[in-house]
Symmetry: D2
Subunit: 344 residues, 4 copies
């Protein structure tokens, strides 16, 4: 960590902050430049994350050298983390497909979807039982009934289940039905929820908040990991910008960036990011080309009858096309996509 002080700082100013830092057992090295004084702080400066540097006279700026997260960092673990659930491995050579409706709307809808997507190489069935809706007047999900439908449909067609958890109380309700907890973008910094998920043993897919930096996403992963649960899957789902043709701006650079900074797997959600079904195919291929470990895509037997997010849901035909196109791109970047029929 580096503290930059005004060049006009006197000995007294420099001593004041130096002594405080020495008291905290840090080694210091002081550089007096022509215009500025620079103090290099040596030691585990993560302890200084709340230190009120700017309240000391003469301090102009503080430059962090060490990353603020640890367990999620590449420095901590160089090899990629591969999360295995039954015979599915997330973060390995195979690209993993997750698909399903935005919300579970009924038994027939989810069975039909599960059957279809299982034939296209999908390994994980997605579907919301509890829906975070911007408006209190929107459909809020079927709750436990939805969880049951989805869990049974998934079992029948040999799929895993991923579903969103929105509060601490829901953890216990969802756990028996789901293989992967999903934390939505709006809850990425719901730290109480993250802490509780750190105590569970099931994998957690953590979606990036709409205005969160990559660093903050990794810090939120750190919350779960520091609680004891190392099975964190990251998910890029678009950030908010001034562009309004797409619902959000899918930040695909986050994929290779996360591969540089972290060992955790990263999934891309092109459906929510774009909000337009005609863009889901191209962005799915782009995500895999950028190095994503998988995709989570909205599919609905009848998009025009869906209770939410119909604008971005693919029907079965479009989804099947997408999978075969994605498979070509996966091969081109030395990844595989197991497109064979899975079970039953």
């Amino acid at each position: 960590m580096i503290v930059v002080m005004d060049g006009k700082s006197n000995e007294d100013d420099i001593r004041k902050i130096s002594e405080k830092l020495k008291d905290m057992k840090f080694d210091l090295q002081i550089i007096k430049g022509s215009n500025k004084v620079v103090i290099g702080i040596i030691g585990d400066t993560r302890k200084l994350s709340n230190f009120p540097f700017n309240s000391y006279p003469g301090v102009i700026d503080v430059l962090r050298v060490l990353k603020p997260y640890k367990l999620a960092s590449k420095e901590f673990r160089e090899l990629p983390t591969i999360i295995k659930i039954n015979d599915v491995a997330i973060g390995g050579k195979e690209v993993v497909l997750m698909a399903g409706p935005c919300a579970v709307e009924g038994e027939e809808q989810i069975y039909e979807t599960a059957q279809m997507v299982s034939k296209s190489g999908v390994k994980v069935l997605r579907g919301g039982a509890y829906k975070p809706r911007t408006s209190p007047y929107s459909f809020q999900g079927l709750g436990i009934k939805g969880l049951k439908f989805m869990s049974e449909a998934a079992k029948k067609y040999g799929l895993l289940v991923i579903t969103e958890v929105m509060s601490i109380e829901q953890i216990g309700i969802i756990e028996p039905f789901a293989d992967i907890f999903q934390v939505g973008a709006r809850n990425m910094q719901n730290f109480m929820l993250l802490k509780e998920l750190g105590k569970t043993r099931k994998p957690v897919m953590l979606k990036r908040g709409m205005s969160s930096t990559i660093e903050e996403l990794l810090l939120s992963a750190e919350y779960i990991m520091s609680g004891g649960n190392k099975k964190v899957i990251l998910c890029e789902r678009g950030i908010r910008t001034f562009e309004n043709y797409t619902r959000n701006t899918l930040d695909l650079s986050a994929v290779p960036a996360i591969k540089v900074l972290s060992h955790l797997p990263i999934i891309v959600d092109p459906s929510h990011a774009t909000g337009r079904k005609e863009l889901v195919g191209p962005m799915s291929k782009a995500a895999i080309a950028a190095g994503a470990d998988g995709l989570i895509i909205e599919v609905h037997p009848k998009p025009e009858a869906s209770a939410s997010d119909g604008a971005q849901s693919l029907d079965f035909d479009n989804f099947e096309n997408l999978v075969s196109e994605v498979e070509q791109v996966a091969k081109a970047v030395n990844r595989t996509l197991d497109h064979s029929y899975v079970s039953v």
Copy 2:
């Protein structure tokens, strides 16, 4: 609500969507333009918030005419809502000051602060007992001990208490100690928490999310209000942009915009928004000039010793100056600021 269809849409396309909407008891009016077909939908179109328009062939765009929130809207209630707690009225002619440390750090710190701010006309003592921190390694607050210190200090100096609630379980813990619940920016769309707060009877100050629109802020208020609790105070605390000199970009236009759209009171937080103590004074004055109903400001007896956010905390002398300057601006816009000593 208005549906825009491609001019090349045939009768069949138009009939398909029209019949569905007529089934839902809407009146329709169809305009065939030179390049587009436009369908005007008449009725309470809030019911259509999830209708999958874009899945119908020919549909290009959907334009909403009605606001998606109701109880929070100016149309619902024309007169400003004034929230009265004991002898403090938020949303009336008087500008209300809330001040205190970012986090309660100890008994002495909070008593000293309470005493000082009460002399400067502050009516509400702020202070975090549970802190939402980006990093799991940062100071997370004193918890219930902090609540007790703050509550007793406030009582002694005739102040109300506002403090942040981060999860449903904390509601019951905090309620006996606080006069106003604060929902932080990161929880603005923690809908489960909002719903629970809708069942309480204490006022809730709802901070705008870092990437939330004004409309979404009002929709989150609607969650609390539709649950039965009408006492919602809004708070602008800065949004995320590319500018990095300030921590966030304080969107003061939101103040008069909310006065146009809603009847709810709006408070401004210049401390978190700017992250720089030298900007807190000017932005406080600007907020009041723009029409804010109050300010929430970080004050600390010794900013250089604070456990968090020292960079933006004012010391007592600076705070006293700020209050007297703000008072001048308040008068200039026909507001009052009760700067007299309140009690003991």
Copy 3:
């Protein structure tokens, strides 16, 4: 175009605006809803782009149905525009590579680069002779000397030349040396420059401004096209967001979006967008997978000795790897990349 008026508007308000519009020879259709009055305006509403709707009493909102650009739109021309320069076709089946240094720094540097990139299948040599630099104290380019070096090097190795034009006076200077004019992000809305380029006959590659929407990019293309020059190539090079790990956020969704909205070719610049050489490879592959018609990439014989933007420049080895990886992805999406040695 649709005008939304307050439901409380009286006949007088409605008549006032209606008559004005009828005077302008528009057909109107008026829908009186429960809460709002809606006026549909039929005709070429592009003429109304400056009509002061909001100054009429009762008007709440104005919803545009027609796109504001015409020549650049898919409606105007359904087939993709293919721009042919000598034996290079931009916008066709072949993915076109443009590469070279950020700035021309000397004769040796540009010859070395031209030779190398020509062997890797690059068709267009890039390099700045006039550099738009944020700081007046930064290297501003070699000017006409740079143009000569680049033009001769390109000729020797069978390459086309693309270089940036920053002002009207430079058009005449650059024209003899360049095959494609480049308009940089900072000049995307330098409308005087766009108008002048509309009078030239050489292709123009128009980079998206850092805070410009896709629609505005197409409107800037319209400036050039309406002046008579139809040969416009669009370029996505990253937009500004709060994320700061990358220099900008590469908005790859813009690629398929532009393919939906326009017939013009679209090139992606992953070097400027990310500002980090380790991200250039993955984002190049992603761009092609998303449907881009080509790439423009910074390459430098010795990045560590470059006068500008060394952080994002690839050396020759890395570039060669990139090309062969991109070629695999191109094939996977049914595009070709002519990787053979071109000429001497």
Copy 4:
């Protein structure tokens, strides 16, 4: 300037970069921390603005300590710059009002406006003769005819003239008619234009680009100043964010931030920033409370008949109210507003 290297960097890596820097006559101080190696570079590091640090092995990050601009900085000149034009002083105790229509539309319109605003204490008449319009099909201004009308109207009512210059060729055309050149947001980084304006002797008001940081605004000012023209007035006019209720987000924090960083005067444009006439009043008051040196406001005799930007233009009655309200706020922050009738 500080270079951060990987802690695993070997002596060779460190020597490589160190020797290069020593060759350039910099003094170095090297700190070997537990995880990183840090090199402090002492000297005028502005020369290193293009140094390709990241191309050296082991280099992770580069931290700038010195500000990249000089003439515009507070360090260069501590006292505020006051720009005097005839008897008007911009940057002094008096708040300066600039007002007028978006575009000069005709003789009568500009005379009527000049007469009216001169009575309300306005000192500078604004009005566009050349208009930068997003669409080539929008009204582009009256050109030289507009300049003449405006100049004569201003003379008659004792006002100064400010008008936008969009290209180098327009400088000579506009100079005889204008007292202040305005550079619009879209041209803030039109560096060729800035350089030419650096050679003129009339003041230049430089508007902040829609996605420009405060630092970049100051660097653009530096372009003009380093060319020899020190009379630069800055203008905050809103930046682009995801919020869409307002046209842009007025970043009022930029006002006190610029007062900390620079000695140049700063004007606020609430009309373009908000795009809504009902927000212009509150944001004008807020701007003055935040410390702005003046306002530039759109006024039109008949907003509903204006050729552009009617939605944000005030009529005369509203403008007069605004001025008297702003005057109260100006007094409250110890500024004056000369509201008396100026001349004929």
